[in-house]
């Protein structure tokens, strides 16, 4: 049996009739979307594309922010404490997202749009790193500048005017959508405190009237550091898989009267403090628990229930990663008026249900929410 024989027989096998496919592309979309959302939380530098902001160039150019004392930046963040907050923002960006983790705090601001998920990528995001933490190199490779096909993916860094007296730089790219392959500002990076860096990333604000650099500088100059506000979560977790700790939280909300919000608690076996010698402090979480109001057709329009859990309509799925890790997905609707989404990559198949049964939901009134979500 020669090579040619094997090749021809394998080729022949490849032409045999196939049975009906059990591959479900819609299911891949549903599962992939959920996993992508959780992953995006820990790479929250992503910013959405294409939004029109009316930014007055003259107004921005004339702005002189009051110097704000930042003080010493911590060497690690507490994921249950929000270290910093926005100051000035364009009025149109009324949607807020916040990711807290030991090695980064990411604040997002986006357009409130009832047609988009409340946790969609914001148009503008600020990543704040603890002291001693370098800006990850992969920020240079990621969105937004790989989003425009056909343009060179190169980018350029250039010195920027100091921000609050500290060194700063612009990052330009040709690849950002709407740039027509021209070098366009996509980031402002600066030291907000000795040895501590922050990065503002902006999507394709192609309709911005005025200089994008002025917008970024104004947001940077008015950021409030040292806020140290405890993060409040709308649930308490009764069952925690062994060895899991809180390593992050995520919250998204539109203006208070919209009723559109969600909150996510991220657990993983990582240390609770960031250490410079670890390269994956913000790795993918082992457990992600998300809660939000059930708005028919809004939260997860494509997650049709396929089972019930404790009498509630639910959607379950399992995904096997090439690394051998198995992720279990559980979405449950109408639990005291909320939608619960649990993703686990630890424990057995029944772990998400066990977590669900141990949850104590605290309602929509933020005054009743807790700053201690774990027992």
């Amino acid at each position: 049996m020669g090579t040619h024989d094997i090749g021809s027989v394998i080729d022949e096998m490849g032409r045999e009739p196939m049975p009906a496919s059990m591959v479900d592309v819609k299911r891949a979309l549903r599962d992939g979307r959920r996993i992508r959302r959780t992953r995006r939380l820990v790479s929250a530098g992503t910013v959405a594309a294409a939004v029109a902001l009316a930014v007055s160039g003259a107004n921005l150019l004339g702005h002189r922010a009051e110097p704000v004392s930042v003080g010493s930046a911590p060497r690690s963040f507490d994921p249950l404490v929000r270290y910093a907050g926005f100051g000035w923002l364009p009025a149109k960006l009324s949607r807020r997202t916040t990711l807290t983790a030991v090695d980064q705090l990411t604040l997002g601001a986006g357009v409130a749009d009832p047609k988009r998920p409340v946790a969609d990528d914001p148009e503008l995001s600020v990543r704040i790193y603890p002291a001693g933490r370098p800006i990850p190199q992969n920020l240079d490779q990621g969105p937004p500048w790989t989003s425009a096909s056909g343009c060179p993916a190169d980018h350029r860094t250039e010195r920027a005017p100091a921000v609050r007296g500290r060194s700063a730089s612009w990052v330009y790219s040709r690849g950002v959508a709407g740039s027509h392959c021209r070098l366009t500002v996509v980031q402002l990076r600066w030291q907000y405190s000795p040895g501590a860096w922050a990065v503002i990333a902006i999507g394709d604000l192609s309709s911005v009237t005025g200089d994008r650099r002025d917008l970024l500088r104004r947001v940077a100059q008015t950021l409030r550091f040292g806020v140290n506000e405890p993060v409040r979560m709308p649930f308490q977790v009764g069952y925690v898989p062994q060895g899991q700790h809180v390593t992050g939280t995520y919250g998204a909300e539109e203006p208070p009267d919209s009723g559109r919000w969600l909150a996510t608690l991220l657990l993983s076996p990582r240390a609770r403090t960031w250490a410079p010698d670890r390269t994956a402090n913000t790795s993918q979480p082992s457990v992600a628990i998300t809660l939000g109001p059930t708005v028919p057709g809004m939260q997860s329009p494509d997650l049709a229930p396929d089972t019930t859990v404790d009498g509630h309509p639910a959607y379950t799925s399992t995904l096997n990663h090439p690394s051998g890790v198995t992720t279990h997905l559980l979405n449950v609707y109408g639990v005291q008026g909320f939608e619960v989404d649990i993703q686990t990559s630890v424990g057995a198949t029944g772990t998400p249900v066990r977590i669900l049964r141990g949850l104590r939901l605290l309602g929509s009134d933020r005054a009743a929410w807790t700053t201690r979500p774990l027992p």
């Binding site: 027989v9 490849g14 196939m18 496919s21 891949a28 992508r36 090439p322």
Partner: protein, 167 residues
């Protein structure tokens, strides 16, 4: 469904027949093959923003499929979730070189990495270098895996007359 999702769906629908066949040659079982493809296209969606700009999406997804397959073998995920302790021995396992069916069974007996190499080389018509890229190894490794895979296939096929003759 937004434009990116529509584009993903259309591209995946185009790729599916070839992906399923490749997966089947790797798994020798249509149920497992479709599971493998399902996991692969889900991973593809997760990476779609980057994947859609790939010069050759077909090759990109095929590489994902192969690595998904090898990953499952390496970690023993399949054996852990198998519904039976072992696959029952099927009658007619002695291969017939004249029959594709028997070669398929012989292929199933070849170790997974060698099988993946043979499928890439002889079904996907990849060069040694392209196969090396898909498997994430050197060209020399592909050559040795191909050689070992062919030797294993020949050994299985040649076992038949000996067994038939009662030796």
């Amino acid at each position: 469904m937004n434009r990116a999702d529509e584009e993903y769906t259309a591209r995946v629908q185009d790729l599916l027949p070839r992906l399923r066949r490749t997966a089947y040659l790797l798994c020798s079982d249509w149920y497992r093959a479709d599971d493998l493809v399902q996991s692969t296209i889900t991973q593809l969606y997760v990476k779609w923003r980057r994947a859609r700009t790939a010069d050759n999406l077909d090759a990109y997804v095929r590489t994902m499929l192969i690595r998904q397959f090898l990953g499952e073998q390496r970690t023993g995920w399949r054996s852990r979730v198998s519904v039976t302790d072992s696959v029952p021995e099927a009658p007619g396992l002695i291969p017939d070189v004249e029959s594709g069916l028997d070669l398929r069974r012989a292929l199933e007996a070849v170790p997974p990495r060698q099988r993946a190499t043979l499928v890439l080389r002889f079904f996907c018509d990849l060069s040694v270098e392209q196969t090396a890229e898909a498997l994430g190894c050197s060209a020399g490794n592909v050559k040795s895996q191909t050689s070992r895979g062919l030797t294993a296939l020949r050994a299985i096929v040649h076992a038949r007359p000996a067994r038939e003759e009662g030796i």
